[in-house]
Amino acid sequence: MPTFKLDGKTIPFEPGDTIIRAAHRQGVVIPHYCWHPGLSAPANCRMCLVEILPKPGARPVSLDILELDAKTGEYKPVQKPKLQPACYIAAADGMEVLGDESPHVTQARHDVQEFLLLNHPVDCPICDQSGECTLQDYWLQYQQTQKRMRDEPVHKPKGVEFGDTIVYDGERCVMCTRCIRFMDEVAKDPVLDMRERGNLNEIVVAPGRKLEGHYTFMTEHVCPVGALTTKDFRFKARVWFLRVADSVCQGCATGCNAHLDYDPRYNKAYRYRPRENLKVNKYWMCDEGMLSYKEAHDGRVTEPSVSGAPRSTAQALEEAAALFSGVPMESVAVVLSARYSLEDNWALRELAQVLLGTKNVYVSGRPDGYEDDILIHKDKNSNTRGVQELVPGAKPVSALVEDVANRRVTHVIALGGSAPGDTAALGNAKIVTIAAHEGPLTKLAEVVLPATSWAEHAGTYVNAKGMRQLADKALEPQGSSRPAWKQVADLATALGFAPSWSKLKHIRAQLVGTASPDASGAHAAAAPAGAE
């Protein structure tokens, strides 16, 4: 592989790579605002300027400038090398590039940063980006000087609604055009553009249009500063209080890798941010997915109940045991859920096939929905493939509805509340549901046991491409909820069986045999340090 040298460090690159991309791949960060690994390079922020040393014997590309001599107070003509944007110059074999080590580059970064802050408002105390803002980070790393301009800064529109989700602040904007390029290149809807020039620049929405579609949140995410904010997260939390868990979006079968940001003080999730995984979601997530963090709190089942009335866990288990006593196994059905982790489904399958010995295994989930060719999958369940791998012949819920109507099934143990289609007929069966969220199956159930949501326990999910991905625990369990596999174990004990699992690692050890772990999963393909 050809290589070049950056500050003396050897960086390998693939032909066609720019300097910044090759460095990024090696985990070496060249400071930048406008460059984004998933977007084209406009080279307009000038933060990534580097000095490229001339080839031996070649004439250096340099500029004639006037430099102030501090001693004499006079300007004298000198030459300085012409700096090049690292995001635009293709790497060449044997090239020698200076970044941090070149005083010219250091000066250029300082000056670019000073220009960017020239008209920036004093907004840090009220800005949602504060604490994760590139302007703040780079000031400390590359500028470290105070304001020299005495004039009133240029004022621009603030709080402009770009659509139903995004608010724009012109004064904070550094005109990196990432949002414009994202809408153009990734969302394929070039609805944003830039108007005016110089310090009157601002981002505008095309006349007569709104910023809308399924990828508006991404414009906020690619924004390196606080110019674009989402209405959802605006003024909700200060980012330095948030902790981050590596999670997997549960919105559809794509299984986008995400950071789930939560505040441990209130045990509350605040937002999703995409987590780089080039094999799944690259750098992006859709709006519906970004908002699905709310399901950690909304529509939750947190307390056990019997016929709709709250009960303790022990009472609910007792009731379940009473329901199932003396029932012949062939009229018992078990419903797995494509919305729950492999571990949860494994536990229920174990209960069905090994302990109960029933062959009536069904699978529930959310009905299909919108799809596109960017990220969104029509299957709205996060683990359909995983359930298929566990129980290849699992029947759909519609089959269960039929079987209940025929009285072939009288008792049901179900995982998850959601089920597609008309399920009213299931009311004829006695149902025990273990669920994190309310749905048709919790409403019809005699006994409901609360399960933790994906945010409250670690779990494995298999996406539509068959990749096993791990979602870490973020929140503490809410109410009396416990991981579904644990509830299944307790239910099995209450029914008089001895479950073979009491810890997550017991299940994980079994799972290795049923479906081969995919090395390209979330953790294996984690982004290099310092990536976006």
């Binding site: 105390p125 000031w139 400390l140 470290q144 105070q146 304001k147 330095w240």
Partner: protein, 404 residues
Amino acid sequence: MEPLDIELDEGELELPAEPMHLNMGPSHPAMHGTVRMVLELSGETIVKCDVQVGYLHRGFEKMCERGTWAQVFPYVDRLNYVSPMLNNVGYALAVEKLCGISVPERCQWYRMALGELARISDHLTCDGAMAMELGAFTPFLWFVKAREMVWDILEEETGARLTHSFGRIGGMAEPPTKDFKKLCAAALPRILEIVEEGERMLLKNRIFLDRLENVGSISGADAIALGWTGPCLRATGVAYDIRKSHPYLKYDEVDFEVPVGTKGDTLDRFLVRLGEIRQSKRIIEQCIERMPDKGPVNCDDPRVVLPKKGDVYTTIEATIQHFKLIMEGAKIPAGECYSYTEGGNGELGYYLVSDGSGTPYRVRIRPPCFQITGGASKLLEGRMLSDIVPTFGSLNMIGGECDH
């Protein structure tokens, strides 16, 4: 109580007896806060003395490792709480050593002057309290009156009498007030007058002298072996003063002597402290003479020093600087250092480890009186019960810095 007037032979007294155990402290007026001595007594003679510390343990090192580097200052205020300024300056110097920065000259003189004021207050408290515990209440009141004068100056400068939290990484919280020099010049002769008055009263008192002289003696070699530093070591005749041996700030540019004792007994410790008050006065006088009236107090390193408040409210650069320093803390370069200064009781050392983040990875504090308290039982075994009071008082054990 009625005296026992039973006629007893000498022989009858020698009944088989077990040593008596007596707990002195942790709540005892002469136990300076909270330290406990488990004594084994034979009559009034101490056979064994077990000094137990830890009653004021707050885990301050761990507390220091939770916040930012700057948030450590209030904690070090509460180490030796009779001379907090010395702890502040010592910590600031340690972090500055880690960063490789030095403060402007004006600040160095200012830190010295404030530190020596704190030393005067420390020694006045120790000597005054010791005299009081032996029944000499008047000198105590006088010494405390003199200490009030020191505290008035410190209050004028820092806004707080005791817990100043005045040190900063790369400088001080505020520049000297414009009256600082005048206040010092006016107060120092008065303080010395009071000290001399108290001294005259005590050092001509036979009872006082008898209770101090040849009590709690220790040799220089033993003191060094125990790790003693400060006035307690110097009382044994070892002239080890960090300000002279390893000068920091501007101590190598000022004239002062290191008072030493000869016998290492309680009286020597008492006298060494009084001598040091005089030397501190000399140092302060030189500081205020040489401290420039104008010029920066804080260094101009934006990585550690807060910007001006006015700029924070009006310019984005200063807002960012403020935000970074307050919310994330000054990023101290990764590394470790040991920095030591002469505290009120001796070598106050900070061993700091930085992982390059805004929070200290490790703050290890070497408080001088931990070692000194460790040697207390050596001084007391074989002595009388009543010797504990002056001897322990002269060691100046401060629970705040000792217990960790």
